[in-house]
């Protein structure tokens, strides 16, 4: 088993599949009255969050607690971090406390890679800058597999601000590893240069959402921050929504079986219409539930739980 999960590129198909299969076993637990497993009893998991992200932190916390680990939440607010302590010193502190795993969310791309130099325990990337968010990709893959029964050969459109999206990077890497065919869709300003060469040669690029929808099994909408407007990535929220928002008429262009995903938090009315977000085709709430199972699987496998 790998030691750290810093990037979806750390996972080969076999390891990724093992995580998804383990997550399925973990999910079976959540139906039981007592949801706890003793697997990580006596182990310490630190949630080191430099960015506010209640949903991801709670998800990791629930995952670690259901495995009986001791959980320490270390958030940038109200800790020595806000007093300017360096990542290295924080890492050495966590090391001295005996952290077996550190789950890190950070606004700087690559912070988990740096952290891994300074702690002996496992490092799990819970989102770093505009780089990656590998457990999000795992829970997305898990959700697709649960809904559609497979990943191999699946056609997945990832739509929106791919340039700034850590979710997109991790999904392209992981889904391609697992045999899916990924198309990234968005205005050319928000599709990174050389995306295929950078992530996977099989990645396709389209600037035309309407052309991609009829041939998609999965349409994953990314959050688009309206601040991007100020930086001339697109002229207005209205124009963005008109060209790249998933509304009801576009939903009807998708095949009957196709699902709609969104990593959250959503801008309802911007990249996704409320009717679409709340439709039975949407997996958004399921994704959250699956997140706990997938993160349990990641922690269990990285820490060699028994």
């Amino acid at each position: 088993m790998i030691k750290h999960l810093r990037s979806a590129a750390d996972l080969d198909a076999e390891t990724a599949t093992l995580i998804l299969d383990t997550a399925a076993e973990m999910a079976a637990l959540s139906g039981r009255e007592v949801k706890k497993l003793p697997a990580l009893r006596g182990r310490t998991v630190v949630n080191l969050f430099y960015e506010d992200s209640t949903r991801t932190r709670i998800s990791f916390e629930a995952a670690a607690k259901r495995l009986s680990a001791d959980v320490i939440n270390f958030s940038a607010k109200g800790s020595s971090v806000s007093k300017g302590e360096s990542l290295k010193d924080t890492a050495l502190t966590l090391q001295a406390m005996g952290a077996d795993a550190v789950v890190i969310r950070h606004s700087a791309s690559g912070a988990p890679h740096r952290l891994a130099n300074w702690v002996d325990g496992s490092v799990v990337n819970a989102g770093d800058g505009t780089h990656e968010h590998p457990t999000q990709a795992l829970l997305d893959a898990y959700t697709m597999r649960s809904r559609l029964g497979r990943l191999d050969g699946l056609k997945v459109a990832i739509v929106g601000d791919v340039l700034h999206s850590r979710v997109a990077r991790s999904n392209v890497l992981l889904l391609t590893t697992l045999g899916a065919q990924v198309t990234v869709v968005g205005p050319p300003t928000l599709i990174p240069l050389d995306v295929a060469a950078a992530l996977s040669e099989k990645t396709q690029v389209s600037f035309d959402l309407d052309a991609v929808l009829p041939d998609s099994d999965v349409v994953m909408m990314l959050r688009v921050q309206t601040e991007r407007m100020q930086d001339s990535y697109f002229p207005s929220a209205r124009e963005y929504s008109r060209r790249y928002g998933l509304d009801v008429p576009r939903l009807h262009k998708m095949p009957e079986h196709a699902i709609v995903m969104h990593p959250g938090p959503m801008n309802r009315g911007m990249e996704i219409a409320p009717e679409v977000a709340d439709s039975p085709r949407s997996t958004i709430v399921e994704q959250v539930a699956n997140g706990v199972s997938v993160r349990m699987a990641v922690l269990y496998l990285l820490l060699g739980g028994k």
Binding site: S86, L87, K88, H106, A108, S109, G110, A111, H113, R114, D128, G129, T130, H131, E132, R166, R169, P192, L193, D194, V195, A197, A198, L199
Partner: protein, 422 residues
């Protein structure tokens, strides 16, 4: 002190004896008092001249001082370095440039020639008192806002024109700031994979294209700092063919390293302009061979440990260069001594107006600014062993060819047996 360098090879020529006395190359043996150095197997080069060094003093003496930087320079075979203006306070007045110049004299290991800021506080708004710096004791000839681009085209035009009065040159850090907001590394495949904001090649090329046109229009000299892209080389090639008075430098790291090194997010590889692609490296090497790029300059940029031992995005850009420049150039081009002497000593001395450097070692009367290299030696770069006060070398653990055995500044040894004399 007089020296006799026995059996030395001047620029790779047949072994000969080289006499140094009274600060110059002498045709006559100096007599019994001369210290004899067995220089068989060693190559003599005119002392290297760096037109782009950051010595950090005043302001960041925890990263480097004029003295420690001078020692690193001497050990790297340099006899003159041009100290960039982005100190604290900024070297934008006669007072600050004279202070740096004086500290250099006190250290006495290399000639420290201060570069003056083009604009007050490097802010890019108002021209600094360039004339006062030129006529100060430091005799400033190169002006640069390095670290920042003189982005305002009108201000750049005026600066290019103004320095003609005292044969000055503007050394431009070519970076269109609007195209590099938040930039962390070369924009391309690797930046996309790493999720780091890209520094597009065009941000450099667009400024160089503009500046060569401005220099042509006003008939001024322009020097381009740390050229890093294949596209910049083409712009320069065309400008030179048209007769524009432009010179350009390339750093050793841009001649060797590529953006792939960012993959581990170790900020020791973070530098501005950023490491580029293999294609750029190849174009820069060819440009140096062709003379489209005139000189190798180190952009020696010491940084304190805490400014590098952090997240990539928070780290300061820059790498050490003085002690590894010649070995890197040797490793890239092999023992092309004429080329090395020109690009690392003669041409930079000419650009900087340092008449006593880059001289002809075969001629009696040439100021004895020279360095002796053992081309057969191999050494492993250990950051802790470097003379610089900082440790941010990108070559830690690399085995490099060529070791500096001795360096002479105006006939006095600054380095002997590979060690600084003070």
């Amino acid at each position: 002190m007089a020296y006799l360098l026995k059996g030395v090879s001047i620029l790779g020529a047949a072994p000969t004896d080289l006499h140094i006395s009274d600060g110059v190359i002498s045709a006559e043996p100096a007599g019994q008092d001369a210290e004899v150095i067995d220089a068989s197997g060693l190559v003599a080069l005119p002392g290297l001249v760096d037109v782009h060094t950051h010595l950090r003093e005043p302001g960041r003496e925890d990263a480097e001082t004029v003295e420690t930087g001078s020692r690193a320079a001497a050990l790297g075979g340099y006899t003159a370095v041009c100290a960039m203006a982005n100190t604290s306070p900024v070297a934008d007045t006669a007072g600050v440039v004279e202070q740096v110049w004086r500290l250099g004299r006190e250290a006495g290991l290399v000639d420290v020639q201060p570069i003056g800021a083009v604009t007050v506080g490097l802010a890019g708004k108002q021209m600094a008192e360039l004339g006062a710096m030129a006529s100060s004791a430091a005799g400033v000839r190169i002006f640069s806002d390095d670290g920042f681009c003189v982005a305002d085209p009108k201000l750049m035009r005026r600066a290019l024109e103004y320095v003609k009065a005292f044969d000055g040159v503007i050394a431009q850090h070519a970076e269109e700031p609007r195209l590099t907001e938040g930039a962390q590394m070369h924009e391309g495949e690797v930046s996309t994979r790493l999720g780091l904001t890209g520094w597009p090649a065009v941000a450099e090329e667009a400024i160089i294209a503009r500046d060569v046109l401005l220099a042509e229009h006003v008939g001024s000299r322009l020097h381009v700092c740390h050229v890093s892209t294949a596209g910049s080389v083409e712009v320069l090639r065309q400008a030179k063919a048209r007769g524009v008075r432009v010179t350009a430098e390339v750093t050793p790291h841009h001649l060797l390293l590529t953006d792939e090194l960012a993959s581990g997010y170790d900020p020791v590889f973070k530098v501005n302009p950023p490491l580029r692609t293999r294609k750029d490296v190849e174009a820069l090497r060819q440009a140096l061979l062709d003379g489209v790029i005139d000189v190798v300059a180190t952009d020696h940029a010491p940084h304190a440990v805490q400014d590098k031992e952090c997240e990539w995005s928070y780290a300061r850009p820059g790498m050490l260069g003085l002690e590894t420049a010649l070995p890197i150039v040797l490793s890239v081009f092999g023992p092309k001594w004429e080329l090395i002497a020109d690009r690392m000593s003669i041409a930079p001395a000419r650009i900087a107006g340092l008449d006593s450097h880059g001289g002809d070692l075969t001629r009696a009367g040439t100021p004895a600014n020279l360095t002796l290299v053992d081309p057969a030696a191999r050494w492993v770069v250990d950051p802790a062993e470097l003379a610089s006060r900082s440790r941010n070398t990108p070559y830690a653990g690399h085995t490099l060819p060529g070791r500096i055995v001795a360096t002479f500044l105006r006939g006095e040894a600054t380095v002997l047996d590979g060690k600084a004399v003070k």
